[in-house]
C-alpha cells in the first residue's frame, strides 16, 4: 500500500525510473495485500488473545491508508492509482469485517469503490484459507484490477 508521498519518494529520478518505481510498488502491493488479508484472517481465528492488539494495529493502518484517496490522479497512470486505492479499500473492508466500525470502509464507499473492493475481499473469504492458493488469489485480484499484463510468474 502506498500514498502520494510514497509515489513521489519512489520517483526520484527520470520518467523511466518513475515508471519502474510505480511498477515495483503496485506489484509489491498486489503480492502482499491479498495474502496479508489471509494472514490477518488466520491470526483472528487462531489467536483470540491477540485480537485487541490486532484491532488497534489494523485500524491504524486503515486510517493511514485513507491518504491514498488524496493522490493526484493527474500525476500518475489512472489504472495504477485505481488499483492502489481499490486494494486499500479491500483491506479496509476486511478490517471492517473483522472489527466492524462504520468509519473504516466509509470513505471508499463514498468514492464508489464498494463493489470492486468487496469482490476482492470475497475471494479471500469464500474458501477456507488453507485451501486458497496464493498464486490463484493474486491472479484473480490482478484480473479484477486490470494489472494482469504487468507481471509474469517465474
Amino acid at each position: 500500500m502506498f500514498t502520494q508521498n510514497d509515489l513521489h519518494s519512489r520517483g526520484g529520478g527520470g520518467l523511466e525510473e518513475l515508471a519502474q518505481n510505480l511498477h515495483a510498488g503496485i506489484i509489491t502491493q498486489l503480492r502482499s495485500v491479498p495474502t496479508g488479508i489471509l494472514v490477518d484472517i488466520y491470526l483472528y481465528r487462531e489467536f483470540e488473545n491477540l485480537r485487541k492488539l490486532q484491532e488497534t494495529s489494523l485500524t491504524q493502518q486503515v486510517h493511514k491508508y485513507w491518504a491514498s484517496l488524496q493522490i493526484n490522479k493527474k500525476q500518475f497512470p489512472e489504472f495504477i492509482v485505481a488499483a492502489n486505492q481499490h486494494m486499500n479499500a479491500a483491506h479496509a473492508a476486511m478490517v471492517d469485517y473483522q472489527y466492524p466500525s462504520p468509519e473504516l470502509f466509509s470513505p471508499y464507499k463514498s468514492a464508489g469503490m464498494e463493489s470492486i473492493a468487496l469482490k476482492l475481499l470475497d475471494s479471500c473469504l469464500t474458501k477456507s484459507i488453507e485451501t486458497i492458493k496464493d498464486k490463484e488469489l493474486i491472479d484473480h485480484w490482478a484480473e479484477t484490477l486490470n494489472l494482469k499484463t504487468l507481471y509474469r510468474w517465474i
Binding site: 485487541k52 484491532e55 488497534t56 485500524t59 491504524q60 486510517h63 485513507w66 484517496l69 488524496q70 466500525s101 462504520p102 468509519e103 466509509s106 470513505p107 463514498s110 468514492a111 464508489g112 469503490m113
Partner: protein, 365 residues
C-alpha cells in the same frame, strides 16, 4: 476500548453520486453537500461522539472523536494545568497508544519528556506532532527547545524560525530564538528578541533573566545598570527555585564586578571590614560564629547593596548597623573561621588575608 479519533479528506470530484437523488448529483452544489453530510451522519450515528464535516472548494474533510476522548483530555489538561505532571504523564501515554496521531497528546507528552530529560523521545513525538499539523506553532517551539537541549542549535534554529514565520509575536518562540543567539554570543539580536518577547509578556521571568544575562555580556555601563534593575525587580517576585538561584548568582556577580571596578586589586575598605569582623567574632565559639554566618547569609538572600555605603542593614547578632560590604566581609570571615577555604559567594579572600595578618600582628604582645 476507547475509539481512536480519525479524519480523512476526499476530493469532491471523486465522490460517487450514482445513488444520489437527481437534485444532488451536481458535485459541489448545495444539495450535493447536504446529501453527503446527511449520509455521513447517518453512517456514523452508531459511533456517537463528535462528527465534523467541512467542505472547501474542491474537497471535504470528515473528522470524528469520541466523547470519552474529550473527557480523557479534559482530565489530562486539568492535571497539567495544576502542575500534576507525573499523574498526567501515564494518561497521555495511554491516550497516545489509542490515538497515535493526536496532536495535543503528542505535543504535551513531548513537552513532558523534554522537561524530564528524555530528549530523544521528546524529539520523536514533537516531530510527529509537527508532521500531523505543520502549523502547530507550539509544537515547533517545543521541538526547538528539545533540539537546544540535545545541543543541536542549527536544527533548533530551523524549526524556531518556522514557528516565528507562523507567529512573529509569540513570546516563547522569541525567547527561545534569543537563547540560540545567546549561545553564539550574538548579543545584539538576542537582546532585540528578548525585548520583543517582553513587550508581549512583560513579567516572564525567563526572558527577564536572559535579558539581564545578555546585558551583562556587553561592555556598556548602561546595560549593566539596566541588568541590575531587572534583577532587583525580579528577585522581589515569586520565582521558581532554579530561576531565583540563577538571578541571585547573576546579581552577586554583577555586584562583585562593580566592586572590583571601583578599586584596586585589594580594596582597603574591605580590608577594614574584614578586620572589624575578626574583632567582633573574637571570643565566640564555633557554633556562635556559624549562627552569625547563617543570619548574614539569610539577610543577603535577596542581594545586598555592596557598592552603596549609604545603605545600611541591621542583624540580630550585633547591635550596630552594617553596610552591605561590611556584611559580605563579615560572612566571609565567619565562614573562614568555621570552614577555612570555603566559598562565601563574594570573593574578598585577598582582603581577608591582609586583615588577618594585621589582626595577628596586633595580637602579638
Amino acid at each position: 476500548m476507547n475509539k481512536a479519533p480519525f479524519a480523512y479528506k476526499l476530493s469532491l470530484a471523486d465522490i460517487d453520486t450514482a445513488s444520489y437523488p437527481e437534485a444532488a448529483k451536481e458535485v459541489g452544489s448545495s444539495a450535493f453537500r447536504t446529501h453527503f453530510q446527511k449520509q455521513v451522519e447517518q453512517e456514523y450515528k452508531s459511533l456517537q461522539g463528535q462528527l465534523a464535516v467541512r467542505f472547501s472548494e474542491n474537497s471535504v474533510d470528515v473528522s470524528w472523536q469520541s466523547e470519552e476522548n474529550n473527557a480523557d483530555k479534559k482530565i489530562i489538561f486539568e492535571l497539567l494545568q495544576s502542575g500534576q505532571i507525573n499523574q498526567a504523564k501515564p494518561l497521555l501515554e495511554q491516550l497516545l497508544a489509542s490515538s497515535p496521531t493526536d496532536t495535543d497528546a503528542l505535543y504535551n507528552l513531548g513537552m513532558i519528556y523534554s522537561d524530564q530529560g528524555q530528549i530523544p523521545q521528546a524529539v520523536e513525538l514533537l516531530i510527529k506532532a509537527t508532521n500531523e499539523d505543520p502549523y502547530h506553532a507550539h509544537s515547533l517551539v517545543a521541538l526547538g527547545v528539545a533540539y537546544l537541549r540535545a545541543k543541536q542549535p542549527d536544527q533548533a534554529e530551523r524549526v524556531l524560525k518556522k514557528a516565528h514565520s507562523l507567529n512573529s509575536d509569540d513570546p516563547y518562540t522569541l525567547r527561545t530564538l534569543a537563547a540560540i543567539y545567546m549561545s553564539r554570543q550574538e548579543h545584539a539580536p538576542a537582546i532585540s528578541m528578548l525585548r520583543h518577547s517582553l513587550s508581549i509578556l512583560p513579567n516572564d521571568p525567563i526572558s527577564l533573566l536572559n535579558l539581564a544575562t545578555t546585558l551583562l555580556k556587553t561592555t556598556q555601563e548602561k546595560d549593566a545598570m539596566e541588568a541590575n534593575e531587572i534583577l532587583t525587580d525580579l528577585l522581589n517576585t515569586q520565582l521558581t527555585s532554579e530561576v531565583e538561584e540563577k538571578a541571585k548568582t547573576l546579581k552577586r556577580s554583577l555586584a562583585y564586578r562593580t566592586f572590583r571596578q571601583h578599586g584596586s586589586d585589594k580594596r582597603s575598605d574591605a580590608v577594614k571590614y574584614c578586620l572589624d569582623a575578626l574583632k567582633i567574632l573574637e571570643g565566640l565559639n564555633e557554633q556562635e560564629v556559624g549562627m552569625v554566618a547563617l543570619e548574614v547569609a539569610q539577610k543577603g538572600d535577596h542581594g545586598l547593596e555592596v557598592n552603596d555605603p549609604s545603605t545600611v542593614y541591621t542583624i540580630k547578632s550585633f547591635d550596630k548597623p552594617f553596610t552591605g560590604l561590611a556584611l559580605v566581609c563579615l560572612l566571609h570571615v565567619a565562614m573562614q573561621k568555621v570552614s577555612p577555604g570555603s566559598d562565601s559567594g563574594f570573593d574578598v579572600s585577598h582582603e581577608y588575608e591582609e586583615a588577618r595578618a594585621i589582626y595577628n600582628q596586633n595580637q602579638q604582645p
